[in-house]
Each structure stands twice: as structure tokens, then as C-alpha cells.
Amino acid sequence: MSHQIEPTKTYVTVFASLIGLTLLTTGVAFIDLGPFNTVVALVIAFCKMLLVILFFMHVRHSGGLVRIALVAGFFWLALLMGLTMSDYRTRTWTPPPQAWSNTAPPTHP
């Protein structure tokens, strides 16, 4: 049972950095980075999530079981996303057509 009690100071500093990251992601949105805008926004969001999970949700010092469950959750989400996007990304790829078996010239234009 996670009985370590965090000092209030850590919570406040984590909160401050979360606010900082929010301002950062909003600010970066006003700079034209082309496709990287999305990547940066997602990386910042991921960092904010890690902060909330590790500090606010005490995963820093909670048992291995909780960590495995959390990692499993994200792994399954990645399965869903990855395999489905593999369909959408490759839908326009077409394999090379096979040679026509009947060697007679096409009787029809």
C-alpha cells in the first residue's frame, strides 16, 4: 500500500510544470513547424500524462502489478491503432499484376 506521503511541495511543483507545458504546447501551436506541429503537441501531452501518472497517481512507488496493468493498457491501445492504421496506410499499394495466362493477343481493344 503506497503509504509514502509526498510533501505538498512536490505536488505544487508538478502542477506548475504541467501549467508550463500547457502554455508551451499552446505557444508552439502558433509557430509553423509543418507536420512536426502534431508530433510536438503529442510529445508534450505524453510528458504531461507521465507527470500526472507518476506523481499525482503515485505510480512512482506503487507495486509492479499496477505498472504492468498500465503498460498493458497502452500496449493494447497501440495494437488497436497500429494494426488498423496498417490497413489504411497500405490500402492504395497494389501488388504487381500477374502476366496474363492466355498468350493470344487481346481480341478486344
Binding site: 493494447w76 495494437l79 494494426l83 496498417s86 497500405t90 490500402r91 499499394w93
Partner: protein
Amino acid sequence: MSTATLEPRVQSPRNYLNADYGWKSWLFTVDHKRIALLYMASITFFFVIGGFFAFLMRLHLIEPQGALVQPETYNKLFTLHGVIMIFFFLIPSIPAVLGNFLVPLMIGARDLAFPKLNLLSWYIYIVGGLFTLYSAIAGGVDTGWTFYTPYSSTYSNTQVTAVAVGVFITGFSSILTGLNFIVTIHKMRAPGLTWFRLPLFLWAIYATSIIMTLGTPVLAITIFLLALEHLFHVGIFSPQLGGDPLLFQHLFWFYSHPAVYIMILPAMGVVSEIIACFARKRIFGYKIVGFSSVAIAVLGFLVWGHHMFVTGQSVYAGLIFSFLSFLVAIPSAIKVFNWTSTLYKGSISYEAPMLYALGFIGLFTMGGLTGMFLASLATDVHLNGTYFIVAHFHYIMVGGAVMGYLGGLHFWWPKISGRKYPNGWAMLSAAIIFIGFNLTFFPQFILGYLGMPRRYAFYPAEFQVLNVMSSAGASILGIGYLIPLVYFIWSMRYGPVAEANPWGATGLEWQTPSPPPTENFAEIPVVTEEAYAYSAEEEASRA
């Protein structure tokens, strides 16, 4: 079955059945054993309805132009047969009935981790069931249990929303049951009961719970979006605004393929227990069989694309899913080989549970091997959407899951009810079910190869002979299922009183009296021996 023990009300010691009387003691119980019986009654109710619809369908298909109902009604019959049988019978059957009853007993606990949540799961299941029954009464739904869009979201004017709400709600019963089992198995095992001393039934239930908790939420959100789209005619699944019907299929099958492993894994667990007990031998390769249950659960999430090989999914995605689908077949094959090897040098006795278990192995092997045709791309192009698919999944679900469920019921019935059923009748029903099942579904493999599509209310005349054979088999199968219903109910009142361990099986649940007291164990047992300790030395060390 001497008549001397026929007086029904022998004054047995205090147990979970006679601890309290009245409907309140049942509808507000938090005892996992009573909740298991509540589930048993409700899923039997749904099984009878689903089975009746199936029988009507088989009767209708005796003649090529359809002998019984209008095409629209036939579409509603196969839809409701699918929805009721899958969501309201097969998925809850072993986990909710045998799982609820046995998990605490097998790990030496007094109850599940969250008893009230367990009762809530049953109420959620019932509310979902009522919605689905309402949709059946108020005109039925004709989209097929797969609810493919845009037909289900835009073109069907039947009770799609009602059945969608029903399935959405019942999904949470499955999620909460899975959650309950995972926490219980992790946190509440008796001292000394390490993971590798767990009975294989618990390995299977654990693997099933992983699928229930991780897969069902995706079904919930998919059905939620479908209901939204059906109501408001805007959504991400129908092409009017640019949505993609294949997106619905991806989301739907992400859950619905692992769902077939929710149905078969617990049956595998039951068969492992029965084979070990009636061969009086430890399961061959215990750890491998245990890990293959978890492997099936994990790999089961990677393969859903094989339902979509011909639906315009990309060729390369088809390649990936075909490869992964072949991988998921390996753990199942390993299990069958291990069960067979368990019989080697065993001392096998043939009571009803063993017949059901052996029937399971036979039919499940057939079902599993016919999956090879559907995982390989070229043959699936021909067989997809035909009766070959219907035969394949019935071999797995009816041949596998239902035989496993009945085997489990016959094996643990003395522990559940404290009474024994007539073994002669039970073995007869096993034989009838086996014969009726094969006569019903084997012809459908040939129909499928011939190209008869699924969900056809009328068909070309050349398929009639095989369809008549299948319908004949269905009536035998129907009788086969009714017999256990009769003698189980009969045994509750008139069956001979069962002793604590009628089969001489190992496992903590057999160390409690039959039926067990409400708190399961006077004091929590300490486990010192390995699982399935049937050998002479282990028995000596126990005495």
C-alpha cells in the same frame, strides 16, 4: 440410484443453499455461489430462446424456397439467434456460472474481491437482456449479430437501437466480471498457492478475464457510436459524409474475435480439470498448457483482420493478419496434444464429464483445423461468407464451448447442488449431442465449399439435400440438450446426496462439503502440494 435416498428434505448441514430462504436472499445476495446460480438460471433461459430460434431456422431451410417464414422474419431469426447465443449465453456461460462459483473455492478465499460488484454485474446483465428481449418483442432486428454499417446504421428500420443498448449494457457485466476475477486471482490466493499450483481452470479463467477487460470496452464504444449513427444519421461509419464502413468492421472485430476466445478458453480450462481427474493423472506439460491459455488470449487480439480479407481491406494488411492468424492456432494445437498425452499411462474412467471432455477434444480439433482454411488467404476468398464459416464457428462454439460448459456442469454439479444426477442418462445425452451435432454441422462444411452463402432465407435447389441432413441433425441436437435440463432439475430434489469428493478429484473446491457453506472454508487452507497430485506418493503424503 436406490429409491431409499429419495426423501428430498434430508436435514443436511448448514450450507449456502439452506442458509437463507425467500426471493430477497437470492436477489440481494453477495455470495458468489448464489450469484453463479442466478447466472445459471438466466443463461439457461436465454439458451432456450436462442436454441428455439435456431430450430426455426433449420426447419425453414428444409425447402429451397423456405418452408416456414418470410425472408424478413428469417433475417430477424438469425440475427436474434446470433445476438442472444453469443452475448447472453456463450460469453457469460462458463466464466459467470462456473467461474463465479469456483474461483473463490479453488484459490481458498471466502468470496471474490468485490462481491457487491459481482451482484451489480448480474443486474447489468439482466438489464441488457431485457433491452434485447424488448427489441425481439417489438419487431426484432435484422442486421445480423455483426451489425455491419451502413445497413445497420442507415438502411435498417428495425430495433437496432434497442439491441445496441442491450449489448452495450451487457458488455459492462463482462468487463466487471473479468476485473473481479483478475483482482481475486492476483490478490486473494490462499497461502502456499503459487501461480504454478493453480488449477488450469484458473489459468484459463485468468486469460479469459484479460480478454474480457481489455476487449469489451472497444465493443462498447463501437456499439455506442453505432447507436448514435442509427439515431442521428451522422457518424463515422457510413459513407454519406465520408465515413468508412471498414472502420466499423475494424473496431467491431477487434473485440469480436477475442470474444470467440472468451468462449473457448474457459471450456479448455474445464476440460483440463476433467481429463486430469478421470485419468487420475497430472496434466501433461502443466506449465505449457497454462501459458498457452495466456498466449491464446494475447495473440487473439492480433488476428481480427481475417474477418475482412474480402472486404476491400488492403492486400498487405491481409498478409499481416493471415500470418498472425496462423500463429494463434499453435497454442490450441499444443493444448490438444497435451490433453491426449495426459491419457497416456493414465487410469481412465468413463463417467458423463469425461465423455463431454473427450467430445470437446474431438469437435474442437475439427473446429480448430478448419480454421486453417480461413486463415490462408486464397481459400478464404472462396469460403468467406459461406456456410463453411457457419460450420467452422459452430464447431468451436457449440462443439467446443457448449460441450465444455456441459462437461463442467456435470463435473461440479455434486459440489453445486449437493446431489448426484443419473450417470446413465448423462452419458446417453452426451452421445446424442455428439451425433446430432456432427449431423447438423458437418454437411455445412460441404455446403460452404459448394458456395452456398450465409444468411440466405432461400437457396438454389441443388443445396437442398445437405440442408435437410443439417436440419435432421438439428432436431437430434435439440433433444440432446433437453435431456440434461430434465435430469439436472430432477436431481435437485430427488438425486442421491453427494459426498464432498464424489470423483476423488484434487483441488481446494473438493475439500469443502457439498454444497459448501456460505463462507466456503472454516479457516483459510494452506496449500503444500502441486496441482493435480493424483500419484500414490502425493496421496500418501496427504494422508
